[in-house]
Every structure is written in structure tokens, then in C-alpha cells.
Symmetry: C5
Subunit: 263 residues, 5 copies
């Protein structure tokens, strides 16, 4: 009986949120750096699959590799914490300071890891900046430009609003994947349960802040016409806020409220 | 031994029907809103997959993501309740008032959630109503129009009759998926057992009332030439009735009668 | 340890054969009607998949959905009974009258269910007999005609001989699927073990009497140029005999003789 | 914990080799006849899949159906026995006479079953020798001719040497599949573990003696320009010897020596 | 509950590293020879799949067959040992001499096995050096030339630097696959968890020293214009160093540090 019933899933959400708020700073940094690295590798694979086959669905179906590793090895993912840690605070199991520590250090780890992983992939694909074109290289440059400049071209209100909305819908599906991974005590069950929600967000082109902390700088290192300000104003900041709203309001709270045990 | 034998499946059907009739109104609304949201996300993914590849089977094979989430997280789905709650009433385990409460509030939650999710997707895909064309956007508009206007064009008797028949056959397969999900105590087994019946209904183009509560308003919000009256007269009302008949007469009763234990 | 070793499979074959011979007439009718319905739905999906993609293998790979449901919900399938019930009679666990009752009532249920399901699909696809062409509709008509008229065109000896031979090879694989489903106590294992033998028979175009009790009348209801006599003489009767021979001689007896326990 | 650690796999290899040497002649004949039948069915499906799609990988990916049945139902396969029974002899658990009995009767069963299954498929595909062309029929004829005449055309030394080498590499992968099937106590695990080694040998076009005992006579019955002498001299005899060497030297002995327990 | 939590994975990493350092020289040679053989077979299948379909992703998705066998049968893989044995040394559970013995003998086994497997495949594909072209044969020649000459053409610093970087990123993913295989006690779970990290490294064209010990000599035996010096200077030596760095620094240490238990 590897199936975990929803009340136990809700309890698991609360416990994970609690322990994430208490994790040491070293572990928060280490695990969040690790997480963005593998999300980066999975994103590279997915972009290459999309570019090679010309079918976005193919890329989307290999992309969940990254979140699978993060979930199975219990690494730190800010967008998951957005949904789980606030529950622990609301239930009095964690303090607001713990939440802020978790969000801050995990974000820091993602920034560091994202830049490092992006630099390694940029060095590899540009062959130490001696070539400027290639299947995967072009895919990164296009992704970085599309995820920033198309919002900029829409103007401040619509552009930032759309990035925010895309971030909301994205993290509804990402946190759904995280929670679905809790519905099984078997490794196979976890993988199968989380796969398609994660594939769905990637396929629908929704904005995930942690993936973007790798993809956009990777594109920039490879020659995308995107400034640091473009990156953060038109994507990273609104997407972070959207991910927080979507993960907590559309997924974390409803699932938790539907099944929390009254003690 | 993760396999659940049919007599235990029948008992599980009865217990789920009983507990669904007793659920608090808050939970009925919360869980049914949640359910239509994820069905909406899965439908969006399936429509995009069909539009991108030009192969309906591909869309059908990713579509069951939605019902999988509903089943694994035990959310409320009206079309499933159509088959399960009447069994509990027939066996004297629930009252008719409980059945009517369940049907009413769950429908209300689906209407609310469907409209909200449709509005979010419409805002995203039309970029706040500034563009009116796109791969997925066109898919929604076509779906909304085809699922209503083609019945209207057939005239009242044939059109409503066909929508009713399509609803009957649809919920035979949807409830089959729900029941197949009960044949395993493992998460993997549940997913594998329910996947293809759900893919089949989508692939055969059959009418599912809860999906339509998202798809048709989504298409309308995106510019489909469908009125509220078109939506309910030519689709939603006959399909709801068809789903009730199909789920109960073609699936719920036969499986239950084949295996109920005489006490 | 979800694997079931062959001696236990042989014992399970005997027990299922015994209980099938003792089933009440109501249950035999109910469960056989149910079984042909879902085989019909799966066949419709498989025909559509073949017609849409132009690749028979794709249709074959979705087809086993039907038998999966029959096995997991322990419904009654005449072609399976052809192999299992005679074993119980040979071992003295069931009477010949029980075998004849089982074969008779289950066949009756398949005829009733096949006609009803065929009528529903015909009404749906012809939109109450107002249109006479369509992807899936054409597939049904072609199947019905090919499965009868090509034997007729070969003449009595060769045609009926070929239908018989095709029925023999078919039920070798169908009963293999049923028996493979007994090699696991997990739902996932059952599904995976039975999938490809069933896909193989469909892919090789072999004749399965129960599927034909749906497909041929469905095609006839949709306009296939096949008479009731054509249906039974050139297909149903020789295929039933072939299925009995193949299921029992090529599969049921060899597996049982290879592993029965001497008591 | 369905995973079986390698020392237990080695012990299982020894036990299976021992019991295979002790099996009654009736069971050796029955189980080896059964095994070649289902290998034949799987080969027919694989050839058709390759011919229909034009992609050899597709055929290779459905081909392992046959070995899966052989392993799950513990039937007798000469190429597996080539690796397992000698281990039992080397460890003093079986006698050389038992080995020779096993090899002899299992080969006899494969010859009988292969000819019978080939005759049934030939009758089916040629519609009792009235037609001489068809997708699958052509595939059989080509396979039979290619697997014999291309060695003949290379001359005795190179041709027989290449058939021998192909047989060596083939059975390295086939026995690997058999052994991988022992790494799990779950049916799903067995299927997944053995699938790709078997697909690999088929995809690489390597020569498997038992498959050839069906494919070559099937092609001959359908009209391939291959004599009985061609069949045995240019294929069957060198491939049998190659399979014995490959299964034992490249797979059975290394795995067993890596993990046998010193008692 | 087949899922293994990360602290137990970290403990398993340490134990495997310890026992690998203590393995007898005979076993180190036997198991490493076996491992490179099956990696070779899997690489042959993957190259053929890529060449046949023209889609690199297809080749990548079948490639992990090799590592799956290595993990399930606990064979010796130098690139895995690069991450696991140093952990045992750092924790005082193994001596540096044990580490050097392990690295040395396992490398020796890979060289021997790689050359032997390469020679067998070369003899097979060139039909004893009588033909010099063919789908898979060309694939091997291209792989051998591309993996050496393109680095040579970049000059010493950039070329060796790129091979080193490619080796670093490669073994980050390979060791991730090895570690993911430890997250489950079920065979199915191990296979599913390790599959995509391994597919990812192959798909991204990263350099794996053990695979190259087969692919490059195989290409050379088949006629690739690559000298022994080219092979080792431009590929094998920098890739070995890169694999050591990547496996240990990017994967082994971070996962171990994230979860080791303080005793």
C-alpha cells in the first residue's frame, strides 16, 4: 500500500514546511545550489529536445527530471517553500523569522548556483566563447530574450502583470507536482505522480523563478541581448511574487485546508 | 499485493458515496473548485498537444493528468458523485437530501472554479485581451464553438439528443476511470489503471460536464461566438443529464451489482 | 514480492474456472454484458487511433485497455472461459452442465451487450443516422466488411478455414494475456504483463469472437454491406470454434499441464 | 523491497540451472515447445512493426514480449539453459548427463514447436498458399533469406565465423535479459529489467538460435529460397555454438563468479 | 515503502565506497570488464537508434540500459567510484591505498574490456574487415573522430579545457544517476530514478571516460582516423580528470554533506 491518503499528505506538507524553516543556513545554501544545478541540466535537456524535434511537448516530457531529483533527494526549492513554509507559520509550528531565513538563503543559493551552472553551460556551448551559434545555444538565447523582452515590449502594467499571472499559474502546477510526490511512499509512485504537472507548466510556457535564475543568465552569458535590469524587472521580480501567490493561494492553502486534521 | 479485488472495490464505492454525501458544504465547495481547476489545466495541456502535433491521440494521452490529481487527492468531481452517491442512497447509507446537497454544492464549486480558471487562462493567452490568436487560444475557441454550435445546428431534438448520448457514453468511461483507480492501493497502480479510460473519452470527443464548465467559458472569454444560453441549452444541461445516466446506469450500478456483498 | 510463480498461476486458473462455472445466471449475464461494452469502447479507440495516425501499431498499443478492465474487475469473457472452465471440468471441480451454462449465458450477454453498445456508437457516430462518413465511422464499416466479406470471397473451405485458423491464433494470445495477468498480485504488474499479448493479437489482425460481436454489428448499424448471415457464417461461428481450440489447446492446457500440482 | 541483490541472483542462477537439469522429459518438451511458440508470435509482431513503420527500433521495442512470457511463466529456453545448466554442473549440483538431456530435449521441443508455429503462420499469411505477398509475409521471407544467404555469400570461413560471432554477442544479451529478470521479485520489475537487453539484441540484428528455429522455417514455408541445408549449415549450427559460448563465457560465468558465495 | 530517504542514501554511498575499496583485485578486474562490455552494447544500440531515426533524443532514451545493468548487478564503474570511494577515505573508512587500488584496477579492467568489446563489434560490423561502411559502423567512426579531433582542432588549451569541462558536467549527471538508483529498494524504482540523468548526459554529448574506452577504440578498429596518442591526449586523460572532478565536487560531496549523519 504505497498510496498516501490526503490527510497524511497534508500532515507531511506541514512537517516539511516546519523542518525547512529550521534548516541550518549551510544546508539551505548547499541544497538550494544543488537544486538549481539539476533544474538547469534538465532545462538544457528540455530545450535541446524541443529545438531538435520542433515539438514543444517532447521537451516538456523530459523536463520533470529536474524536479524529480529535487524531490527524491529532498533538496531546497524556493517555489516549493513558498507553499510549505507559510503553512507551518500559520499553524504556529514555525516563526516568521524562520520563513524569512528560508526564503532568503534559498534564494541566495539559487542565485549562486544558477549563475555558476549558467557559466559552465555557456563555456561548454560557446566552446569558451569562440562560437556563437548552435542548436542548444540558440535555444538558450531565444528563451532568455523571450522571457524578458516580450514583457518589456508590452509596457510596464501589462508586461509585469502578465509575468505575474504566468508566475501564479506556474507555481500552482509546480507545487502540485511537489504535493503529488507526497502521495506515494514508493519511488516509482512519486516519479509518476509528479511528472505531468511539471511537464504541464513547462509545456504551457509558464514562468518559474528558479528555472529562470539559470536560463536567463545562461542566455545572457551566451550573448542574449538582455541586461541585468531587464532580467530582474521584467521577469525575476514579478515571477517570484507570482510564484509565491500561486503556490500558496492556488495550491498549498486549498490542499491543506481540505485535509488538515483538527487536533 | 497492491491489487484490490472487485468486492472490495464495490465496498469502497459505497463508502466513498456515503462520505461524499456527508461532507461539509465548505469542503464540497473547496474541493470541487480545486478539481475543476486542475481539470482545466490538464485540458489546456491536452488541447495544446493536439493543436501542436495535429494528432488527437497525443492530446488524449496527456489529458488524464487532471483526473489523476482529482483521484489521488480525493477532490470532489460531480460526474464521479453521479455514480457513487446514489449507491449510498440506494443502500440506505445516505439520504436523498445528502445527495442533493452534494450534487448542488459540487456543481456550484465547479461553476465558480471553472469561471475563475477560464478567466485566468483567457487573461494569459490573450495577454489581457490584446491579442486574439494563438495556437492554444484558437484551440479553446474552436472547442467552445464545436461543443455548442454543432448541436444547435442539428436542431433541438437531434442536437440535444446527441449531446445527451455523448454525455452518457462519456461518463461511462469517466466513472470507469474513477473505479479503476480503486483497484489498487499503490499510487502507480491507481495512475496506470485509470489512465486509458479517461484518455478514451477525451479521444472519442465525448462530452464531460465538468471539463465543459471550464472549456466553454474559457473559449467565450477568448472570443468564441457562443452565448450563455448556447452554452447551457446546447451543452451543459443535456450533458449533465447524460453524465448522470451514463455514470450511474452504465457503470456505477453494474459494477456495484456485480460485486456487492450480501450482508 | 508481487510475482506469482507458475504453479500458483496454474492453481489460480483452476479456481477461476471453477468459480466461473458456478456463477449465477444473473451475474453471468451482467458481467458479460459489461465486458463486451468496454471491449467495444477500447476497440473504438483503437480503430480511431489506427485511422488517425495511419499506423496499425498505435491502435494495437491502446487496444488492451479493454481486456485490462475485464481482468481487473473480474468480468466474464467467453474467450477466457474457453480456456479456464474446461480445466475445472477435467479436474472434476466443475460439471459439464456448468461449463455449458457458462458458455451459453456469457455468450448471450456478449450478444446483448455487443448489440446495445454497437447501437449507441452507431447513433453517436452517424448523428442519429444523418451522416454516413467520418474517420471512426469509416473504420467501423471497413472492419465489419473486411472481417466477413474477405472470407466469403475465398469460398467456403478456405474462407471458413482461415477464419478458424485466425480464431485459433487469436485466442492463444488473448488467453495468454489473461494468464499473464495472473502472474502478479499488483495492479501495475497485471497491466504490464497482459498488455503486449493483447496488443499482439490486435496488431496481427487476428479474429476475436467477443470483439466481433461488437465491431461487426456496429459496422452493420453504420451502413456496412454485411448481412446477419454473413456475420455469423463467415466470421462468428468459425471464430468462436477457433477461439475455443486456440485458448484451450495452445494455451490453457499447456500452461496448466506444465505446472499443475500433483495432489 | 523488490530488488534482489546480486549474490542472491547468482544463487538463483545456480538453482534454476539445477532444476532445469532435473526436469522430466515431458516437461522439457512441453515447456520448450511453448516457449518457441510465443517467441514466434513476438517475432511476427516485431517484424510487422518494423515493416509497417520502417523503423527497426520500433520492432525491437515490442520484441521482448516473447522472452517476458518465457521468463514469467518459467518456460524452457535453450539459450538460457546454455548459461545456467553448466553452472550447476560446474558446482557439482547437476550431472553432465542432465545437461545433455536438457540441451537435447529442449532443442527437440524448439524444433517441433518452431516448425508447428511456422506452419500455422505460413498458412495464415499465405491464406493457405493462395497469395505470396504481404507486409508481414515479405518480412518473413526477407529475414529467412538474409539470415542464411548473406553468410553463404561470404564463403565458409568468413560466413560461418560471422554467424558464430553474431551468435556469441546475441546470447550475451539474451542471457543478460534472463539474469536481469532475476533482479526483482515483482512482475513489473522483472519486465522492466529484462526489456532493453532483449530489445538490444534484436535491434543489432544478432542471431538467436531459438528465434531462428521459427523465423527461418516460417520464411521457407512462405516461399523463401532457402534449403534445409542452408538453414542449418549457414545459420542454425554456428549460431547454436555461438549462443552457447556467448551465454556461458560472456555472461553466465562472469556474473556467477562475481557473486557466488563461498560455502 | 520502497523510497529510501536521503540520509539513508548518504549512508549507502559511504558503505558502497568502503566496500569498493576493499574488493579483491580479481573482482575489480572482472566486474569492471563486465561493466564496460554492457556500456558498449548500450552505446552501440544508442548510436544505431540515433543514426536510424536521425533524432539524438531517441538514442539518448535507450542508452541508460547500460548503466542500469551496472547498477542492478553492482558491477564496478570507475566514474561512480570517483565519487564514492573518496567519501570513504575522507570519513576514515577506507585508506588512500585502497582508493588507488580501486581506481587503478577498475581502470585496467575498463581498458581490457573496452578493447575486447570494441574488437568484437568491429569484427561484426566490418564483417571481418571486408566492408567499410554501414549505418552503425559510420556512427562509430564519426563518434571516435568527433570526440578526439574536434578538441585537437581547438588547440591545446581550449581543446583540453573543453574536454575537461565536458567530463566535469558528464560525471555530475552519471553519478547523479548512480545516486538516484539508491533512492529505491525496488528494481522498478531504481530503473526509473536513474534513467533520465543518464539519458541527459548522453543527449547533451558530454564525455564519459568509460564509454570512450569502448567507443574510441571501436571507431579506430573500424577505420577512424584517430591515433592512440589522439585518443588519450585529446580525450581520455582530460575526460578522466574531468569525470573525477565532476563526480566528486558537483555530486558526491554535496549530496553526502547535505545528509551525512553526525555520529
Amino acid at each position: 500500500m504505497s498510496y498516501v491518503s490526503p490527510p497524511d499528505v497534508a500532515e507531511d506538507m506541514l512537517e516539511q514546511g516546519t523542518s525547512k524553516a529550521e534548516l541550518s543556513t549551510f544546508q539551505q545554501l548547499l541544497r538550494s545550489t544543488f537544486a538549481v544545478f539539476i533544474l538547469g541540466g534538465a532545462t538544457a535537456m528540455a530545450i535541446q529536445a524541443t529545438e531538435e524535434t520542433g515539438i514543444g511537448l517532447v521537451g516538456a516530457l523530459v523536463f520533470p527530471l529536474g524536479l524529480t531529483v529535487v524531490v527524491l533527494l529532498s533538496m531546497e526549492l524556493l517555489t516549493g517553500n513558498f507553499a510549505l513554509v507559510p503553512l507551518a507559520v500559520l499553524e504556529g509550528r514555525a516563526k516568521l523569522s524562520g520563513l524569512l531565513r528560508s526564503f532568503g538563503w534559498v534564494l541566495a543559493g539559487h542565485v549562486i548556483g544558477g549563475l555558476l551552472c549558467a557559466a559552465l553551460f555557456a563555456a561548454l556551448l560557446t566552446e569558451f566563447w569562440t562560437i556563437d551559434s548552435g542548436l542548444l545555444l540558440n535555444g538558450f538565447i531565444e528563451s532568455a530574450e523571450e522571457n524578458t523582452l516580450r514583457y518589456q515590449q508590452m509596457g510596464a502594467v501589462a508586461g509585469i502583470g502578465l509575468a505575474l499571472l504566468s508566475g501564479i499559474l506556474c507555481n500552482w502546477l509546480v507545487v502540485l507536482g511537489v504535493v503529488m510526490g507526497m502521495t506515494s511512499t514508493s519511488t516509482t509512485g512519486k516519479i509518476m505522480a509528479l511528472w505531468l504537472p511539471i511537464a504541464a507548466f513547462f509545456y504551457l510556457g509558464l514562468e518559474h523563478a528558479v528555472v529562470n535564475l539559470f536560463v536567463i543568465p545562461a542566455g545572457m552569458f551566451m550573448g542574449a541581448d538582455v541586461s541585468i535590469a531587464d532580467w530582474w524587472i521584467w521577469n525575476q521580480i514579478p515571477v517570484l511574487i507570482g510564484n509565491l501567490i500561486g503556490g500558496l493561494v492556488l495550491l498549498g492553502l486549498p490542499v491543506y485546508l481540505a485535509y488538515r486534521q483538527k487536533q
